[in-house]
């Protein structure tokens, strides 16, 4: 049982970070980015290709994360520009339609050009015993990276002037502008951050199990689930929801079965929304 729980926590931390990348963009720009998963996969492919061309793992990973950040930024500066002229529900709907199109395009390019590509990062070393459970070094390293990144993110949003400016735009865009914050610049920053997080999560995933190019859809759905359960736009909500869903995922795939797990995850999400319609830390809860 301890092993299953620990597995769940490792997974949940990744889920959380994945959700944060999607939720900040929604909170900030009113955009639900359905191309989020495929962007993550593009990062994985970039890492894999760079390693094949002789780059060592560290720089390759950085290059992959950078790739995802750049794609995400491009999205912000091109196809999403007309979306920003709309407000409220129209904006959300329009962003859904456009980003699902982008998702298909990225997915299509990947399947066409790199059909058998995938990313698997083997971290050597003997298993380390934690609470009497032998854990793979890869999982531990992945968790360490995720925890450090999460901590750095929280510190950034709480303590830095730029981080506060980001939160100000999320909470009241007019108020932020009156304080001299330029929402367009904050948006660019957050899109880059979101892409980078997608890339980072997929890299940490690859440390435990291979990521194939078909993972995009699953990653998007997962991020959406975390975002909705945590409350759209809530950063701490995403972390908490990620942990919960990660543990649910591990427990259910161990005791019930992997195929049913997706349904159980959806059920857990539906249940949360039934009890708290705007999620754990939703704006209007």
């Amino acid at each position: 049982m301890t092993a299953v729980l620990l597995d769940g926590i490792v997974l949940g931390l990744q889920f959380g970070l994945l959700g944060v990348g999607l939720t900040v963009v929604y909170g900030l720009a009113g955009v639900l980015n359905l191309a989020y998963g495929p962007i993550a996969v593009a990062a994985a492919v970039a890492v894999s290709l760079s390693m094949q061309s002789g780059l060592s793992a560290g720089p390759a990973v950085l290059l992959g994360i950078l790739t995802a950040a750049v794609i995400s930024l491009l999205l912000n500066f091109t196809i999403l520009q007309p979306v920003y002229r709309q407000e409220g529900e129209t904006r959300v709907l329009l962003s859904l339609l456009l980003t699902i199109g982008v998702a298909f395009i990225i997915d299509g390019i990947l399947v066409w050009r790199y059909p058998i590509e995938g990313l698997s990062l083997n971290i050597g070393g003997d298993p380390v015993s934690i609470l009497g459970v032998p854990m793979r070094t890869g999982s531990l390293l992945a968790s360490a990276i995720v925890i450090l990144t999460g901590g750095a993110l929280i510190a950034f949003f709480r303590a830095t002037t730029t981080g506060k400016a980001v939160r100000s735009v999320i909470q009241d865009e007019v108020g932020a502008r009156l304080c001299g914050v330029n929402p367009a610049r904050v948006r660019a920053l957050i899109f880059a951050l979101s892409g980078a997080l997608a890339g980072l999560v997929v890299v940490t995933e690859a440390m435990a199990s291979p990521v194939t190019i078909s993972a995009g859809f699953r990653l998007t759905i997962l991020a959406l689930l975390v975002t909705v359960v945590g409350g759209l736009g809530s950063i701490r909500g995403a972390f908490l929801a990620g942990l919960i869903l990660g543990i649910v995922n591990s427990v259910s795939s161990f005791y019930i079965g992997a195929y049913i797990t997706t349904i159980i995850l959806l059920g857990a999400a539906a249940l949360t929304i039934l009890v708290r319609p705007s999620g754990l830390f939703g704006k209007h809860a």
């Binding site: 002037t161 506060k164 400016a165 939160r167 100000s168 909470q171 009241d172 007019v174 108020g175 932020a176 502008r177 009156l178 304080c179 001299g180 914050v181 330029n182 929402p183």
Partner: protein, 232 residues
């Protein structure tokens, strides 16, 4: 300091405010009075860059700032306090104040000035802005605006949602601000309060300036007395 000439603006095709000219000199307090829906908010939003100007010029210290975006206007020494306040509800009082100084770090001297003006904000510095009372939120909105050390502060209906006693207090703090040399432009429905603070005033009705002059003169004007002061 602020010169608005022949300004027209509105939402969509039809201009709500038409050909309005007002000016505010350094160190002055100027009131724009008028009934609900007269166009006061629309005018102020256009000056501050929250609403596009369809024609006319907004000049600030000899330079045209027409259609400068709100976040840029905020950085050239003009602070706007909207009637809806637009605070950051989930952030603490201290964080709201700190963002007022954006992009700089909050200036300690300015912060103590603000807290001197509104001691309540110091007592509540860790409380979330959204959980405060209307009067406290109004203080915070003005305090946040002051953190940028503005030379001109523009307020839209600072008494919105305040009980009479609190409304009077709000104007007392504005009077204290004046003494410190901050130039004030205020739009107000509560005409007696506004005319007591202001040196000069404009009467805005149906999107046009109907009347202007020194505050004392406006107070004695029969039309103003009848329409806004409730005196026959």
């Amino acid at each position: 300091m602020l010169e608005v000439s022949e300004l027209s603006t509105g939402y969509g095709a039809k201009d709500v405010v038409r050909g309005v000219s007002i000016d505010v000199r350094e160190g002055e307090a100027v009131a724009i009075i008028g009934s609900n829906g007269a166009g006061k908010t629309t005018l102020l939003r256009a000056i501050c860059g929250l609403l596009p100007v369809s024609s006319g010029v907004v000049g600030y210290e000899g330079r045209a700032i027409t259609n400068l975006r709100a976040n840029e206007v905020a950085r050239i020494g003009i602070a706007f306090v909207p009637a809806e306040r637009h605070l950051f509800p989930e952030m603490s009082v201290a964080e709201n104040l700190a963002l007022g100084a954006y992009p700089k770090r909050p200036d300690a001297k300015q912060q103590s000035l603000v807290l001197e003006l509104f001691p309540r904000l110091g007592e509540r510095s860790r409380q979330a802005a959204g959980t405060m009372s209307g009067g406290e939120q109004q203080m915070l909105a003005v305090g946040r605006a002051l953190m940028s050390r503005p030379r001109l502060i523009i307020l839209d209906e600072p008494t919105t949602g305040l009980a009479p006693r609190l409304a009077t207090q709000a104007y007392e703090s504005l009077a204290a601000l004046r003494v410190q040399g901050v130039t004030i432009l205020v739009a107000e429905q509560q005409v007696p309060l506004a005319l007591r603070l202001a040196d000069r005033g404009y009467v805005l009705e149906n999107g046009e300036i109907q009347l202007e002059g020194p505050a004392a003169e406006l107070r004695d004007n029969p039309t103003v007395r009848r329409a806004y002061l409730g005196i026959a």
